[in-house]
Symmetry: C2
């Protein structure tokens, strides 16, 4: 049986332990929701104050040049690149994940159609993050395509070359937002390519959480989120990557002046910039963009300690510990671990299903200072889910112990059945 | 002849003079570029610090509910509504102006097409802000329409019912970014409607600068900018308004989860929210959004002093003074006032054309602490332009005098011809 002392020992032996000092976390709270909103880096407040007071207040319009606001989308993209196996110059940080998905899926559909007009189907997963499906649905309707939703286990068969002759794009989120299950990007991309299908990967729950190798895995397009594991702050702008082989091949439809070849020539006709810059559209929110730089700084300190490989090793150790403690100390209370046990299929969150009461249990847990979140099922195929993000930059092993101890007490005491915990909030 | 003393007297008599105290402006600078980037309100730094340190740092994920992040786009929209003649519940603040234009122009084209499939032309102005034309060009290409660019003087004829039978949409920027000329929204909208044409208005240079009456003028769609006259900070999110008669009629193509009828149900199929909420797409940059609230606060203080009508009166007095001083004190140096002299056709900026040397003159002026900006011509029809934004919340009459005095000295001395002033910056 694992003990508290053992977990404390794991913290003492953790080579990444000092990285937590980069963050301001509220006292008395165990924060296991960095998969939804990353924690605040200590450097962010001062940097944001500088942007507001100095760069905007004193520098005014001149800061577009002098403070480098104008190329911030590219400079931040260059810093994300090594976290996801891309190269500098291939990523811009801009807009939201949904809007970036619209851009790359449009491009992918046009490329597919230009190669073979019969390729009109988009394959995705029923359990993909809904906004990805909404964007795909809207694009398919506008362009005459169809969106087909499969279970994860059906993907391999659907990508068999004889079955996929009319498929244009495989659209997947690499790590599932509910279950924490991770797809094999290399294998699925290879299967897609064998069938002549392009791949679009949503890295919202991957970037900064698990090693990603877009170029080695030969992915075609990717988007991702700045405010989860990258610690960029609430609603931080998102990023978009396009394989250099595709970047110049299509004019994405959100063709605004920031993506123009000569944005300050103010010519009435659009000429797309070369490369990834054409995936920019309008002026970006500089204060929020600047905060993301501080989130990325928290990864710089990890570089000398082994970088993403070391973060991944710790993440898996944390989630292994979580699973073991659920089994050893919370058994008999109706909880099922739905995140895959196989390391190669696990992201950096741990999800527990329960037939009913999941929302109230999470609320009771939050009242005890352990912050995870809840994702509702559909009452049929999809179970209610308790989600716990394990963010190796700032989550400790003793915290996992304490979180499970609080969960055990919530379950044993039955306090979650008090009426106050079942009141739904707007954002649950 | 107008004297410095006269201008100082105008400041003393200015009932809005105290409003300037709401802003932090650098000492020794006359800032006449609020039409490009509004000045920093004094309250913004503390508010942004609170959002970062308290709401994000301490409140973490709970702030989506407890700090009201989730409905910030609607709450900010409600505050913009009275500035542009719209009602609460009709505006959301989100994304960029370019992206919001994509949404409303898509909606307008679909509505027009559903009423009459032959209506496929979009009319706009050659001198419209280029990103508006780029977005329209992209949409027309995707949807089989055509974009036709006219000179302002050709619009009335093009909107004659017999000439406009195949026109879907009239897309105009209300106040021109280069010349400062203002369209007659009521008259053009009425002419468009007589011809069965919908109107899309870009209010980037209008909102907070001139009175706008979207509903009284029966406009159909509008977008606008948060970082110019609304003082929201660099790249602040933009806004979008849709006439209630159209808001529920179309499913805009950037259909993301924030525009879903039940965003937290996480259903795989998209159901648009009712009303303007369906014009939301993905998660918004909360820090930048929060800063915009402080920009809007600077208008609240103007309410008891006469609101937009009083601001407009001061703006016109400032630009009248500017024109008179150009004529009295800068004559003989090749400058032409291109902003209309007629009050009903003038926005809140003053633009001067010069055959050559405009860029270097502006750089020399900036070196003397007078900040305006420069917009390049095309060497043919469009002249080079020196732009001066006159923002009645913080620009004073003596400042106009001093700005013109510095401009006079730049011209008389010939110092602008020094090589240092002709070096182009990235963002000019």
């Amino acid at each position: 049986m694992i003990t508290l002392e053992h977990c404390q020992q794991l913290d003492l032996q953790d080579p990444l332990r000092a990285l937590r000092e980069q963050f301001n976390l509220p006292s008395g709270v165990i924060y296991l929701d960095g998969n939804s909103l990353g924690a605040l880096p200590k450097s962010t407040a001062a940097r944001v104050a500088q942007v507001v007071t100095q760069e905007w207040g004193q520098g005014l319009i001149g800061s577009w040049n002098e403070a480098g606001w104008f190329d911030l989308p590219q400079r931040l993209g260059d810093r994300i690149a090594p976290l996801i196996g891309a190269a500098a110059g291939e990523i811009v940080v801009t807009d939201s994940t949904s809007i970036n998905l619209f851009k790359v899926l449009s491009a992918a559909l046009q490329i597919a159609k230009s190669a073979d007009p019969a390729r009109l189907r988009v394959l995705s997963e029923r359990d993909n993050f809904p906004t990805d499906l909404y964007i795909a649905e809207g694009l398919c309707r506008a362009q005459g395509g169809t969106l087909e939703l499969l279970e994860a286990g059906q993907l391999a068969a659907a990508l068999a070359p004889e079955a996929a002759q009319d498929v244009a794009v495989l659209l997947l989120t690499h790590v599932n937002y509910r279950s924490g299950a991770m797809h094999d990007m290399a294998a699925l991309t290879a299967a897609a390519h064998r069938a002549g299908v392009l791949t679009v990967w949503d890295l919202a729950h991957s970037a900064g959480a698990v090693p990603v190798n877009l170029k080695a895995d030969q992915a075609d397009f990717a988007v991702g989120c700045g405010y989860k594991y990258l610690n960029g702050g609430p609603g931080a702008p998102a990023f978009v990557w396009v394989s250099p082989q595709h970047a110049d091949r299509f004019w994405q439809p959100l063709a605004g002046w920031w993506g123009h070849a000569a944005p300050f020539a103010f010519t009435p006709d659009y000429q797309p910039a070369s490369g990834i810059a054409r995936y920019l559209c309008g002026t970006q929110p500089i204060i929020s963009l600047s905060a993301l730089a501080c989130g990325l700084d928290t990864f710089s300190a990890a570089e000398s300690l082994g970088g993403m490989a070391a973060l991944r090793a710790k993440s898996l150790a944390l989630s292994d510990l979580f699973i073991t403690l659920v089994e050893q100390r919370c058994a008999g209370h109706g909880l099922t671990v739905v995140t895959p046990r196989e390391h190669g299929r696990r992201g950096s969150q741990l999800s527990l299903a329960r037939e009913q009461g999941g929302y109230a249990i999470m609320q009771a847990l939050i009242a005890r200072g352990v912050i995870g979140d809840f994702r509702s099922g559909d009452g049929k195929q999809r179970a209610d889910i308790l989600r716990f993000g394990l963010t190796p930059l700032y989550t400790g092993f003793e915290e996992v112990w304490q979180a499970l101890e609080q969960l055990r007490q919530v379950l044993v005491s039955g306090e979650w059945q008090r009426s106050e915990f079942s009141l739904r909030k707007v954002v649950s």
